[in-house]
């Protein structure tokens, strides 16, 4: 089944510039229904309050709630636990990847990344587009 490019995507990062970059790259990939949050707690609030998101793309190192904590909250929430969740982070040690995987991450992108990697990881999570 083709991916609905109108799906709502939540991107989470505490760097405004990074939010802007990911938003523009997603737009170039054809996705325009994009919302933003600047830390895990704001993202969790949006996920619970608004609903209807098809994908979360989150940074790890944020305050007060990190991306890993957000991921754990999402996986522990009955309504959100199946949400595709991609971590996009500069944290690149194996223990980070393992911790994220154990927490239920759908895929993991290390910064700096390119549009091709973003597309490939999205496709592995939400399907071909």
């Amino acid at each position: 089944m083709a991916v609905d490019k109108n799906m709502k995507i939540l991107i989470v990062d505490d760097y405004k510039t990074m939010l802007r970059i990911i938003r523009n790259l997603l737009r170039q990939l054809g996705f325009t229904n994009i919302e933003e949050a600047m830390d895990g707690s704001a993202a969790l609030q949006m996920l619970r309050a608004n609903g209807g998101y098809g994908l979360v793309i989150s940074d790890w190192n944020m305050e007060p709630m990190t991306g890993l904590q957000l991921l754990r909250e999402v996986r522990a929430d009955a309504k959100l636990k199946a949400m595709p969740f991609i971590m996009v982070t500069a944290e690149s040690k194996s223990e980070n990847v393992i911790a994220a995987k154990e927490a239920g991450v759908s895929n993991y992108i290390v910064k700096p990344f390119n549009a091709e990697t973003l597309k490939a990881k999205m496709q592995s999570v939400i399907g071909e587009f």
Partner: protein, 249 residues
């Protein structure tokens, strides 16, 4: 505090022996107390003389050896104080670290402003690309994508600089502790130049590495996972991460 120690004190200070005077009973604990409160060599020597002449004599050879060792320790402390003063810790605390932190903050802000301007320009080019077709549109879109990708440098450099600022903060805390240990202005040196710092090297690679470890080494749990971008050769690349993730499947 021991009764002996109480007898050796007046007005909260350890009594210092006067040559030829009548010395109170002095204990090793009094000597250690003086060392703890950063007594000078003269005061320590006085106390040790009193210890030597204390009516509570022990083995004379042991006592003499103890006196020699503590005298050497006192000289070492004085020498260390001189060395530390030459590093001008007050300058490090009040001038160098705040200046370095401000400069680093300015770098982050400047790159953020520059990146936003680049993004503004590229978004303008994307609007232009919408009016093009064929290879021209494709080429322009490819170029704008590459610019967006390159702009991720701002996030990475920002995180690296944040790590450096945290390390500087750790150094500042240690300098604070050093100044507290040696008591107020006890380590004040000249404030006109940074010559002493230069002479001492201002922090070698190994020192700097040690500070970084100290700044981050005591974190546990999730906190220990927050290390920011790794150095080339140490960090895993995307292929390594993909392979690791595949191991789970």
């Amino acid at each position: 505090m021991s009764k002996d120690s109480d007898r050796a004190r007046t007005d909260g200070k350890t009594a210092v022996a006067k040559p030829g005077g009548v010395n109170p009973r002095i204990t090793l604990g009094d000597a250690l107390e003086l060392i703890k409160r950063d007594a000078g060599a003269e005061e320590l020597t006085g106390l040790l003389l009193a210890l030597r002449d204390s009516p509570d004599r022990g083995d004379e050879a042991d006592k003499a050896r103890l006196v020699d060792e503590i005298r050497a320790l006192s000289a070492f402390i004085d020498a260390a104080r001189v060395d530390l003063a030459s590093l001008r810790p007050r300058d490090i605390q009040e001038r160098f670290i705040p200046t370095a932190s401000d400069e680093l903050d300015a770098i982050v802000q400047a790159t953020e402003v520059a990146t936003d301007e680049i993004m503004d320009a590229v978004e303008g080019l994307e609007v232009l690309a919408e009016g093009l077709s064929g290879d021209q549109a494709k080429t322009l879109n490819f170029a704008t994508t590459r610019i967006y990708e390159a702009c991720t440098f701002q996030d990475i450099t920002g995180q690296r600089i944040t790590k450096v600022v945290k390390t500087l903060k750790s150094i500042e805390e240690r300098v604070d502790a050093l100044l507290d240990t040696f008591g107020g202005g006890g380590l004040d040196g000249d404030t006109d130049t940074g010559q002493a710092l230069s002479r001492k090297g201002g922090g070698s690679d190994s020192d700097s590495h040690g500070w970084t470890l100290a700044a981050t080494g005591d974190r546990v749990g999730d906190e220990a996972l927050l290390n920011g971008p790794g150095m080339a050769g140490e960090a895993m690349n995307q292929d390594d991460i993909d392979a690791l993730l595949n191991d789970f499947d």
